[in-house]
C-alpha cells in the first residue's frame, strides 16, 4: 500500500478514533466528533495539497 491518499485516510482514521474516544463519553457523540474530525483531517490534507501544488520545490 503506497498510495499517499490511502495512507492519509488511514492515519486520519486512527487519530480521529483515539481523539473521539478520549474527548467524549457517549458513543453517539464519539461517532459524531470522530466523523467531523476525520472529515476535517482529510479536507485540510486535500486543500493543503492543492495549495502546495503550484510551488516549484
Amino acid at each position: 500500500m503506497t498510495s499517499h491518499f490511502a495512507l492519509m485516510l488511514l492515519f486520519a482514521a486512527f487519530v480521529s478514533i483515539v481523539f473521539a474516544a478520549l474527548m467524549r463519553d457517549d458513543p453517539r457523540e464519539q461517532l459524531a466528533l470522530g466523523g467531523r474530525m476525520f472529515g476535517a483531517f482529510v479536507g485540510a490534507g486535500v486543500v493543503l495539497g492543492w495549495l502546495l501544488f503550484p510551488l516549484p520545490f
Binding site: M1, F14, L22
Partner: protein
Amino acid sequence: MRATAADRAQTTTNPYVISAVAWLVPGAGHLWLGRTQKGLIFLVTLPLMFATGLWLEGRLFPFQASEPLVALAAFADIGIGIPYVLAKALRLGNGNVVAATYEYANAFIIVAGLLNMLVALDAFDIAQGRK
C-alpha cells in the same frame, strides 16, 4: 446510589500505578477503571497504528544525545509501551529509508506513541476523580 466499577477503582488505586499500566499496555488503564468501551478502543487502535507503522517499514529511532530531533522521536516511539519492547525484541523497526512509505510509517509510529501518552494522562485524571 451504588458505586460503579470506575468509582471503586478511583478510591482504591494509586493514580500513578494506573497511568504506568496505561502506558505499558494501551487501554489497560481505562479497562482497570471500568471504562471498558474506551479501553477496548485504545487497546485495538493504538497497537494497530504502531504495527501499521512497522509494516510500512518505519524506524524505531535510537536515543542519540547528539541528534536532539532523533532523541525526541525515540522518546515518542517509547510512548507506546510494551509493543515497543516486543518490536525491539523481534528486531522490527529497522526502517527502510528508500521505501516510499518510510516517512508515513514514522508518522504512524511516533503519533501512536504520543497518543498513548495522552491516553495514560487521561487514565491518571480519571483515577484522580477529575473526569
